[in-house]
Point group: C2
Chain length 147, copies 2
Amino acid sequence: MLDDLDRKLLDILVKDSRASLKELAQQVGLSSPSVSERLRRLEERGVIRAFTVEIDPEALGYPLQAIVRIRPLPGKLHIVQQLIEEIPEFGECDKVTGDDCFVARLYVRSMSELDKLLDRIADKAETSTAIIKAQPIRRRPPPMGNA
Amino acid sequence: MLDDLDRKLLDILVKDSRASLKELAQQVGLSSPSVSERLRRLEERGVIRAFTVEIDPEALGYPLQAIVRIRPLPGKLHIVQQLIEEIPEFGECDKVTGDDCFVARLYVRSMSELDKLLDRIADKAETSTAIIKAQPIRRRPPPMGNA
DNA sequence: AGTGAAAGATCCTTCTT
DNA sequence: AAGAAGGATCTTTCACT
């Protein structure tokens, strides 16, 4: 699927998505047109999902984060999922196996806001909340092999 | 801290980190030099942590993800944290309050690899693993207000 | 698939107001 | 912060390997 050159390109882009074709080209040892073509295909195939920017949540006024495990009450699964999706403070949500149905990340401005947001699903699901104290590993992609 | 224009710029960049100054300028109604200066400061202040790319893990050969809760045995906290950080398949790790000390995301190629990786910390911590079946919300930043 | 050159477009920065 | 302008830089096209 992906060859070493593709992986190398991805590796560079993860660190700097604004690298120019020229820059990418010389770093991987290809010509600009080749890189251009490879990038096009990587995007087209969905390998690259987005060129984006990572923002410090605190700068946006959200100094607190929590991990919330959510177990919808019988028959409430869909309603709960919809509710989660509608609350923009949820910055991530995974549907998982096991007793907890969802594991989600919640950005909040304060403890009272956390409480308020959780109240909105309190009557439809059991929740279990853990406050994030530190982030030993911030979001990063899986290993890219011999990139 | 951030004004509406800054938030608007961030909002655009989250969707396309390769937008040019010119493009950004006309979208927020400023001149290129102004945008250039604002961007410089946003980076400098750490509001923008990185210009990056979001990659489909499956394309890299990791079709499975798991959420792992990790509770180090007494006295093993530091060793466990170090171990987690050394395993590149961990794509994210938060240190949280509560019984579980860490909540981490693990990218794996297969169930057997999952088992193998968890074995590496099995003698130093109790773990509780949930396989991700779907991702209702993929990573996104907190609300940017009136961006 | 990839290269290399070339042309044209685009961009970023500087300077002045 | 705007606006213009100059010069650098980039991206794409095309012919060829």
